[in-house]
Amino acid sequence: MAEPLSTSHGYPGRLLVFEGLDGSGKSTQASLLGKWLQAQGYRVFFTEWNSSDLVSSVIRRGKKKGLLTPTTFSLLHATDFADRFERRILPPLRAGYLVVCDRYAYTAFVRDAARGCDPNWVRTIYSFAPQPDRVFYFRVPVEVTLKRKIASRLKINYYEAGMDLGLSEDLYESYERFQTRLQKEYDRLAETDRLTIVDSTRPVEAIQKELRANLKPLIENFPTGARLMHDG
């Protein structure tokens, strides 16, 4: 069987991945990191989970009608990711740029496992995706993510709460149970896939400082956008 994500990409670019539960603060950190990289003259490409036009409408439609099973849910996200990978991740990576991914194949590994899909099957499907240069896993207790959601008045959606699994009739209770499951899967991956764990209960500034320090050696001698476009 193919050993998924065990191979590094070997392209001149760098692939940086931000993973964690919703409300773990990863998107805020990714955005701040991007600003810092761009300020140094690097060209940065951002991509997000569920961002390909191709299947986002299908996912919305399927979710609305409740047509999706764990298997079709998993395959649809894989299709979406493949489109994003082939179109938005691979070309800049090959051309030698920095690519920052807000969620990568690991999101599928944890969600699909929590929905009962065969983990080896899911890994094989994603084996076209190479191992990133860094994967930051933003770890924060589930209660904290829930508090952040409530504080920012964000609605909890059906699938985020794992309501399709019938864990509980109550949205909040289902959310807590499902997110706890996801966290367990993330913790497992942190070991098997050597994710860099970031304690995300700390202040934003402290975390950002740590990330920048961590990435410094990786981008040393890395060409800026201007150097790639002009001789001399």
Partner: protein, 257 residues
Amino acid sequence: MMDRTYGTRLPGMPTEPLTGKLVVIEGADGSGRSTEVALLKTWLEVEGHAVVDTGLRRSDLVSAEIDGAKQGHTLGATTMALLYSVDFADQLENKIVPALSAGSTVLADRYIYTLMARAIVRGASREWARELYGFAWRPDLVIFLDARPEILLHRSIAKYGSLDYWESGMDLCLSRDLFESFFLYQDLLSREFEWMTDKYGFHRVDANRVPEEVHSDVQRLVAPLYGAAAPRRPPKPSPPSRSGSRVSRARRRAASA
């Protein structure tokens, strides 16, 4: 008990044996699949079996997206392969398995094998394709309608007045010439079907002949599934000798067509 799928457990699907039969008809475009599926369906119904027919690209979930992608020709190979797998999974879970549970015969006009072959000739590894479709239900019988590329060519022209862009594999850029591309593409596909023949236990039926003859061979293969004694097969003609490399043969065909 034999695994009901090709290895991957499907969450939420039955684990007990299902009473229905899954019969798959595979073959290239022009091999006479649709004709045979129609004949077989009628025959089975006359025999008293409930039949549900299915095929590729029939799920409501993503068929519009597949059509759109084919118009635009903009999807990458992996994305396209996965998009087809969504369509297949949706039909498997919402149509095929429920029909088998209800005791019906499901007659599939193509199955995962075509999808795998298409993905592989576009660059996917055989291993990846096999694992991807590991969740597919094992058919009770797979019949492969085997027709020569020259025959497929003439049937395709009779049907469409020309050659189909996708059935000629033009997206693979094997050749700018539609005719040459058609033969090269069919040759690549048949190589994959050859490999799958043993792996998945295909029953090959010579589909170069008229529909009635093909149908009587198919009936002989299908009858034992229902406990009927299989009628004796007529003696097999010896296979034509093969010479030359595949690509050169395909090019010769293109040149002589």
